[in-house]
Symmetry: C2
Subunit: 217 residues, 2 copies
Amino acid sequence: MTISVSSPAERRRNKIRARILAAAERVFAREGADGLSIRRLAETIDYSPAAIYKYFKSKDELVDELKETFFELILQTVHRIVDKTTPFSERSRDCVATYVQIAIEKPYHYAAAFAGESNTVAPVDGEPGFAASKKGQAFMVLSGMIAEGVENGTFRSDIDPVLAAKSIWASMHGLAMMIVHIPTFPAFKPDQETMARDEFILFHADQVIRGLEAHHG
Amino acid sequence: MTISVSSPAERRRNKIRARILAAAERVFAREGADGLSIRRLAETIDYSPAAIYKYFKSKDELVDELKETFFELILQTVHRIVDKTTPFSERSRDCVATYVQIAIEKPYHYAAAFAGESNTVAPVDGEPGFAASKKGQAFMVLSGMIAEGVENGTFRSDIDPVLAAKSIWASMHGLAMMIVHIPTFPAFKPDQETMARDEFILFHADQVIRGLEAHHG
DNA sequence: AATTTGAGTGAACAGTGTTTACTTTTTGAA
DNA sequence: TTCAAAAAGTAAACACTGTTCACTCAAATT
């Protein structure tokens, strides 16, 4: 029996799988899940449409893998911010703002990643898989940072960090979705008294964090 | 020439149009835009698929009308809250919470209404149509309420009400989307130390409004 | 009464995801 | 090295989708 954990055949297979994913990634980033068709994908890869089903059970499963690597990107990026040694107030604000920036950079990824519903499994809050998933890990980094804020006295002590993290996450998510779906979001009139997008993101982040701060009233 | 603003023919036409919309509304509420197919819709109405195109230019246009009446619902509901004579703090909180409740009651409507992109026109922030649209009106009701809070000293005076309204709207939107897309959202484990959904909505609303309040620090 | 307008339709076009039966290639063991 | 088994790849079909076109038939207008 062969004990090689990765046979040549298997490595070759993974390579093709990766090639499919890479091609899918390109069109997905530009046109989203609806623009990504198995048939078109097969053509750019020079395979027949049916061939793809030897590597992925369904289109949904393929897209789910794109999402998962996107969550990895989020996790890494958030980690990079949280692990910094800059002052806490600055760090927490940057964390929120950066999260939104990622969504803007890959709008289709972001929207698809959180518009779950019709997916394969989608390890979701409340289910066993959540804590282990990249999504769950990213969330735990965030709630950990808030717990830090509660401990060092920046935030109110009467709030549950996990609860607060969920609230903040929702607020971030909302701005991200707004910007992603409404290209001109923070603006009312394109020229007049308009706050620039990045500036608005910081404003929003401040606003959100202010809701947590101590010494209130 | 006939001056009757609504001829019998025209009235009959509008009636059929309404019948189509009513049937579409039913299946849309249950299965969303993807579940609503022209062919299936035609069958429940006992028409041929092509007939629907005599009343609507495209499926997108049909769905857009469903969205528009949904925005009317939002506008009415928000108005009912804002126009109340209850204390301001309570009123502002209820306004936020109620908005999210609407989204929960009609999740597909809400998600579709704000996942614009591939629509016909979608009068969007920054464009002329926005202020006149139901969406725009609902927003103005919200920003008006915040302006009231700034005037009566509840909120910080150094913030632009319109900007603050956008920030709050984004936060509300985020929670709504979270709950809509992730059925178990506010929960981590279904039983243990979980805050009930409605309770969490109020918590979030408080959190969001707290960010605006005066006498800070 | 004749003609134009509009409602309604069957069939087709151009797509989609997916499955099935089939061929070819590659692999692992006798 | 030969040979069977496993895997890779495919063409064609199934069951859908939104949409358009040429056509019929009934209703309204002149």
